[in-house]
Symmetry: C2
Subunit: 725 residues, 2 copies
Amino acid sequence: MDFASFLTSLVTSFIIFVVLMVLFACLSAKPGNNVVYYPNRILKGMDPFEGGSKTRNPFSWIKEALSSSEQNVITMSGVDTAVYFVFLSTVLGILVFSGLILLPVLLPVAATDNGVKFNATATTSNGTFNELDKLSMGNISENSPRLWAFFAATYWVSIVTIYLLWKAYNHVSWLRSEALRTPEVRSQQFAVVVRDIPHPPQDQTRKEQVDSYFKAIYPETFYRSMIITDNKQVNKLYEELEGYKKKLERAEAIYAASKTTAKPEGTRPSNSTGFLGLMGEKVDSIEYYNEKISEIIPKLESEQKVTLREKQLNAAVVFLTNRVAASSAAQSLHAQMVDTWTVFDSPEPGQLIWTNLKIRFFEREVRQYVVYVIVALTIFFYMIPIAFISAFTTLGNLVKLLPFLKPVVKIVAVKTILEAYLPQIALIIFLALLPKFLHFLSKLEGIPTESHVVRAASGKYFYFTVLNVFIGVTIGGTLFSTFKTIEKDPNNIVEMLASNLPDNATFFLTFVALKFFVGYGLELSRIVPLIIYHLKRKFLCKTEAELKAAWFPGDLGYGTRVPADMLIVTIVLCYSVIAPLIIPFGVMYFGLGWLILRNQALKVYVPAYESYGRMWPHIHNRVLASLILYQLTMLGYFGVHKFLYTPFLIPLPLLSLLFGFVCAKKFYPAFQKPALEVAANHLKEAPNMELIFRSFIPPCLNSDKVDEDQFEDALSHVSRSVSFA
Amino acid sequence: MDFASFLTSLVTSFIIFVVLMVLFACLSAKPGNNVVYYPNRILKGMDPFEGGSKTRNPFSWIKEALSSSEQNVITMSGVDTAVYFVFLSTVLGILVFSGLILLPVLLPVAATDNGVKFNATATTSNGTFNELDKLSMGNISENSPRLWAFFAATYWVSIVTIYLLWKAYNHVSWLRSEALRTPEVRSQQFAVVVRDIPHPPQDQTRKEQVDSYFKAIYPETFYRSMIITDNKQVNKLYEELEGYKKKLERAEAIYAASKTTAKPEGTRPSNSTGFLGLMGEKVDSIEYYNEKISEIIPKLESEQKVTLREKQLNAAVVFLTNRVAASSAAQSLHAQMVDTWTVFDSPEPGQLIWTNLKIRFFEREVRQYVVYVIVALTIFFYMIPIAFISAFTTLGNLVKLLPFLKPVVKIVAVKTILEAYLPQIALIIFLALLPKFLHFLSKLEGIPTESHVVRAASGKYFYFTVLNVFIGVTIGGTLFSTFKTIEKDPNNIVEMLASNLPDNATFFLTFVALKFFVGYGLELSRIVPLIIYHLKRKFLCKTEAELKAAWFPGDLGYGTRVPADMLIVTIVLCYSVIAPLIIPFGVMYFGLGWLILRNQALKVYVPAYESYGRMWPHIHNRVLASLILYQLTMLGYFGVHKFLYTPFLIPLPLLSLLFGFVCAKKFYPAFQKPALEVAANHLKEAPNMELIFRSFIPPCLNSDKVDEDQFEDALSHVSRSVSFA
């Protein structure tokens, strides 16, 4: 990629960004679009334009975002989102502090080196040497004393990173403890989940077994237990019922709408009973659905009874009346045989994955390792397509393969744009397909809570991205054939990476620019959700519920957002000293990201769950991993430059490892287990155990019709009188 | 070593053994020796000859040992000793089951191989080929189909070991849980130890800080706390006082003894006040010591006050009134910052190492790694002397170095015996010096309980023994020069070990025989303690207390016993298939060991502490490590024999690792932390918290004179009224 296409890429990205901003300014001002631009506020029952935005100034959102406090974010979007902002601001801080020193020092040092060895670099950079490269470390001659500046810069970036990471971990730890010591009663703080319950003795039911076990250990605080059941059947019926209820509502809405003044009796909607409602007998919809519903309800009720009585599994939720007791129970060993009666702290009721709770101890271990192997294979074999994509970087190759593109490509403007973006767009589309698969795999491991699955999937995605996109593109992009030589000699990889990095600097510059201009432009303007919403509203939605579903924004999705950001962190860190010009791009990415996502977090997205910042240790470790990759790369790159004092960089990765070790010892356990001093804080009111218990009943078992006595089988009632008293 | 000296060694060992047995039969029958042969019974207030031994049959002890149950051992010597016997009987079982198949199958297969390659073996075995070697795998020709028998034997030994280890772990886990669920009140089950307490706030004393922290978390079960103090000064005074008390008692006893009928007024003993009581002014002893005592008592009392008030450290013992609460507290995370308020389950009061409790979290980590490095260096540099010892195996070398031995060596009998035993004796003496040093190092790590220090030292000793004695002798013994070549290419070590093993078979046979005949003979006959006791009784002891100290037997000392046994396990396992003749020797070692130590455990040794079998996971892992070493050695040895199907042995070490992983997951945590279901068992009586609290006060602070109020400073009394109520 030459300098011209680099500039084209930047300019076009910027133009797209400006257009999207203008669109946002216009569209968000229309009250009809409020549900797209302010759903979080609306769902929380707030006025969309609360605060200073009464004037509808198109830039007021920036002021609002900047003036919002961390507490605002926690109130509107939870601790997890606040922690995500700690991540963004920490990285931003790292890049700003690094850039303040690196840019004014390294750029002149690099640009004024007269000892440029054009021929030497040409051999490695495959003839792509251009103006930008003059500002990079590649421009410094071998073993030049100027390398000392880059050497010091390597240390500076590391120290800044470690210092800010330390501060961030401290802060997040404080955030978590503050959130957990809340005086509010939270259901999950009074429950623990038990797995691997052994077979009940002959003379006991599962419920009796669980109750007697926990009553013996917690005679004073045990409230009640809820045996996990196999809900497959009952859930199917429940969903069928809900489906018909929605259809009935819709049919009634259509019928109501048809009652115009001209035709006051209206038209009763009808539908076919056959395949997909397209074939078969035509029937009156309202009657048909009512019939279906009254048909399913007794079935559901009897299935609920059967489920509660006969489909009890080897897991349970146990409720304790005391927060400290529950916190302590969640982290204590209960049984002498450690693979029985394993207990962990309950997540929010909705987060519990009932189907995974029955998986036994060692089966989970086996599943985990099997999934790891599958992920490793995925990472390894996806390398090949990515390498192909990188090989297509030249438009010539593409035209050869897809000759029908020839006439389009001949237009100069199109050609330049395509040349600038083609590989990046391919990469982005490619990466978008992956998260679902990784989420599925993580669930397969037997992880019992939704937030944990998201974290596990996010980790896999991170490894995938860094290994494939960063390392794959760096090494594969310039010389596809080197891929095979690395396979033969994997020890070479650091050196290979180091020597190939500078050639890909411009690729990654445009990649980052594309990400922040177009990515964040789309994010803020919400063009796609807006169009979808309006289309649905016009053609599909008939009822209020349908309309709400059409604009419901979902959550911030940091399971995929964090790995994507981490890729940028890795890229920017690794290039920070080699090509300091990337730092402003990184600052733009994280600055713009912070600003725009702040707006989105406050006004748009609705968090799906709250894990009180349990994502942080993973984020921390991955930033640290990026730092170590950067340090190793620098070791290799200084080696390539034949700098005699390269070994003095060896303390850096060791320091990073030591730092990681200290953090893991000092902070990590408090993210895994609830600390008792936090749980011991006073509560505003005595917990209503009956409500807490009810909140854990899944919707498919929570019918109004099902009388309470019917829960007795699986849902014990040992000390229920307590709660009624 | 040739066959003749091997036989000589065996026969002389056996003669020594018989002599020691006869001595034991005679000496143990004398009532005056009861305190040497039955101290454990006497201290427990039992009749030494309880049970069937009224007849004084010299073999009745065998019957008693064989008929004693595990419960007898637990009653007399505790769970730790019972676990040690599980270890002995498990290894015995492994060897018996292995031998039953291996001996009748492998010996004929080896002995009848006609394809013996004398010249081929002669090159590796350094000319020591003899009759014994004909019964070993070394006698089988390369890639012979007879190797299949050895191949199958390799699998058989592994499977037997894994099966019996599994059974043993299950059994020990049950033993531990049974012991912990005791209905007796045990002090340590109502206390937890807190370390890393942060600085108290300005307006609080340390005691207030600790009390308010734990009262907030355990409002119902918190009883009281005891702040750990720096007892260095007070301990010094206390020991001085105790010393003078003993001396006074002794002087009074001497004075009383001098009051004969001939001289009813007696002679008042006197002593010098100067250096070692040899120089300086002569004074009346009784007066002098009384004076000293009354001088020290007020000093001690004021120092006790100062210690309790001003020398409080950042650690405390916290007492909870409920066993489950204490068990749960011991394993729960208390503080959000994990390096503060770290809690662990209290050991028995006497086991707590007060001086180590103050060491802070990360300092402990650093100390641990520093100690590991020192131990690694020790292991590595002791290699050199051991290799020297092995090189001295020939008597010729010794005479050259120590010419004055020449006349002695000329006597044929002496020469043969020396030749047979010299290297082994050198080895045994050498190893006897080490445990103290390793114990010292382990204590330096900052480990807070005595039993844990013993375990840590034992682990270090194990690594030392296996690495130095086994691997060192095997490789260094035959060819000292190979030592250096290994250093250059450490990858070679398995092959080197495998090819050198058969040459050392006879060395290790005599080593094992010496260990069980002479070692266990000395153990049972207790000749050394007997002589020391009688000497002390005659010439030194004047008072009852001094006499008791002279015969007090100490504990079983399994901290050094286990590693010594483990060395035998490693040797026998590694040779089991190569030279199956070693199996009967191993059976003898563990059979005789079981029998004799059973006697000693029941009648002699007094356990110093009780850790409820926490040693077992370490024993288990080390037997497993020996098994893996054996499997790797066999892999190498089959390779040396050019057996084509050698790779089919690769699953074995993998299987062992998997087994270790499963055991670690299933059993280990219950050895680290107290399981709650165990603690939840009913107690016979309500715990007397005041007594429990008092049991933790170290003797130097526990003066009768010190009024209770004076403990207030460091020993809080928040809810003491409860215990008095």
